[in-house]
Symmetry: C2
Subunit: 429 residues, 2 copies
């Protein structure tokens, strides 16, 4: 079976983690492919979906690890697919299937690169989880329980995409996340709003709390919020000028006239890379149907997320929020911290970053664009902050790959080049 045939076999398994579909089957297939490639592989149970872990010894005592996931996003809406999402199909040199870009294609390209060596110069490890698309709820426990197993000198993260101009990219981090639900309660039932002269309205309390979190120039007002931010390194700041960004196009796509505070493209890139944020994800109270209903609500709830940058700590930010509520007299607000994620960042100065970049340069014609972070959040911090492993995310996708959307695909030339990059990396590591 060729590597592409094996990839198709993996893609045929509808391993949708949200609905717990095809999970065991897909974990077993990953385990089987690792074993067939000469890895010592095991399926490790967790409180959720199992993690597949494989290791293959090399000549030196250095270890290169790959983080991948065998689960995929739901394929809906099905009617928008040109071919069925779990029946991989090649058209115009592109392979179409759910999960081919995110992230089964990357896993198989990395495996192909490893298999091309008769004798591995370094030890290779694969950690392939099954809950990435649902927020990796059990990965933290898994990492903490398997620190020795997961020891490595460098980690390649799940995915990467060429940009619209065909330039390869590298990502060196992820933002942290402090997600908080705020709840306020008033009377023991919804009241006629004639009582508003007398009875406290929990919607006012929630509105006042939210309004106190940020001022008009977007400064986040939790005392100490900015204290732990590590200023970007000189090389990181220089990057802002190098990163291509078409703000006009982004604004057109989103249907907005301007960015927050009317910021320039350069400021936008700087914020995406180095800026924390405070966002209302949701708010609900009282009557929200059509027309009017004069009600004084009994409950109000808001969901707020803080995106964090190195070295902010979501647990500490949650404490600052609680102190803020206390200081401002919002003593009746109930709070709940949900799934905190730490920021992750691997320094430009790490030798591993240089080696990955050189491996990219050896394969691609175009210059690789290095992003110090992705704009989103994820479990990368478990490997950088908890295990201390330099981590870089690269992969075989491109600007047309449509991860999480219908007609997910990769270009097969990118796939071959991606295999080459990993070969170069194993050699140079």
């Amino acid at each position: 079976m060729t590597n592409i045939e094996a990839l198709k076999e993996l893609l045929r398994i509808p391993s949708v983690s949200t609905i717990h579909q095809g999970i065991e089957e897909c974990a077993e297939k990953v385990d089987q492919f690792l074993e067939e490639a000469g890895f010592s592989s095991q399926i490790i149970e967790t409180e959720g979906h199992p993690v597949v872990f494989g290791e293959k010894k090399g000549k030196s005592d250095k270890t290169l690890m790959f983080y991948d996931h065998y689960d995929v996003q739901p394929p809906e809406p099905l009617e928008e697919w040109g071919s069925p999402p779990f029946e991989p199909e090649i058209r115009d040199n592109r392979l179409y299937a759910r999960g081919v870009a995110d992230n089964k294609g990357n896993f198989m390209a990395r495996l192909a690169a490893v298999e091309s060596f008769d004798e591995l110069p370094v030890t290779i490890k694969f950690v392939v989880e099954g809950e990435e698309e649902i927020g990796s709820p059990h990965l933290e426990a898994f990492v903490n329980q398997n620190k020795d197993l997961l020891a490595a000198d460098g980690l390649i993260w799940e995915a990467g995409y060429k940009d619209a101009a065909g330039r390869p990219t590298m990502l060196l981090g992820a933002k942290g996340l402090c997600y908080v639900e705020l709840r306020a309660t008033g009377a023991n039932r919804d009241l006629h709003s004639a009582s508003a002269v007398l009875v406290e309205n929990p919607a006012w309390a929630i509105v006042q709390v939210l309004a106190s979190l940020k001022d008009a120039d977007e400064t986040i007002l939790l005392e100490g919020f900015y204290d732990d931010i590590k200023p970007p390194e000189k090389e990181e700041l220089e990057l802002v000028d190098q990163i291509p960004y078409d703000g006009k196009l982004v604004k057109e796509m989103l249907g907005i006239d301007k960015f927050l505070l009317d910021m320039s493209d350069k400021e936008a890139v700087s914020k995406i890379l180095y800026g924390p944020s405070c966002n209302i994800c949701g708010i609900l109270s009282g009557y929200t149907g059509k027309g009017s209903k004069t009600v004084l609500p009994a409950h109000a709830v808001a969901k707020v997320d803080f995106r964090l940058v190195p070295d902010q700590n979501p647990a500490k930010i949650y404490e600052l929020l609680q102190a803020h509520l206390k200081k401002h007299g919002f003593t009746d607000i109930e709070t709940e911290l949900m799934g905190p994620l730490w920021p992750a960042r691997t320094s430009f100065k790490e030798r591993f970053v240089t080696v990955v970049k050189e491996s990219m340069d050896a394969v691609y014609d175009k210059e690789t664009i290095v992003y110090p972070t992705m704009s989103g959040s994820g479990p990368m911090w478990l490997f950088t902050a908890v295990l201390g492993i330099p981590t870089v995310s690269i992969g075989t996708g491109d600007a047309e790959s449509r991860a999480h959307s219908p007609n997910e695909s990769i270009n097969l030339t990118d796939y071959s080049e991606g295999i080459q990059v990993i070969k170069e990396l194993i050699t140079r590591f």
Copy 2:
């Protein structure tokens, strides 16, 4: 047919305006009863449910009018009724049926009082609408189109209730209402919250607008909001001490520790009678389900009501709100005014108020408690402000009457006394 038998016949018609049930049948029955009592009666069509108007000439050229409505609240939940809501039943000297207290019983008691006169000393008019329980949406047009028909020297409003201590009550007004929906829009779709560093969140805009409306001591911050408030008259202020109010019991019932600003019972009564308010009836944006979803919402909406006191004008308050939004730079907020209601207030100094009070005193053992206003809002202003008729609300209900709830009822002794009061009033008017 006795008056009570006729009342039962009216109560058997399930004239639920919300679902347009039994409306024509009930209007015809009211018209029939008026004709049988010697009134010249007509069913006047509107854009909604018809209004029944009856007139019977008296000796003098003075006119006393009654405002009633033949529609009722929905009876649900049915399982909580001791007897079916549209099968009137007498138990322990109480008559149970939907609408008996609000407001068919009052209509029939007034009719009984009129019928007891061989020759009427004054002209009597009845205006009986069919949309009171759905906010009287077509009454304004009806009043404006029938000003001559509706001319009168005094108006008895629909209902009144003895309080828990058995004291009769009179209400001399209603609060006004300016109900506004506020809408904000961001990008053309919900975004991943990683974009919060760049893209304006309409939930923030709505929160900031709401937070700007009121300060911590409950002062409403629209410039000019308090300008048109007519300070209570001396007699009105003295009332605050006379009105019985058990704040401790109210707080217990609502499950709250304290009133807004920890106000005393006396302050509470003062606010109920003379205080305007600004209330969030509803707010909605983004993800409001269980758990977390990191979303930057595309839309946010809030519903706000301002309860108004004489002589505030809801149309002007809406203009002040728009000026406030402009002044504070909330230029992207869309607003919609919904069904404005003007405040209504009849002065203590009106002779009509004195005559009604004397009629009450002639019948009841206990002193009548006079409230300058009800805490809620309604169409009374059409008669006070548009037609200029002194208006007092009294009726035959008591603290157990459960208007709008299952097991609505009246005490038959109260009903007889209510007839006597109207007889006294017609005589003294």
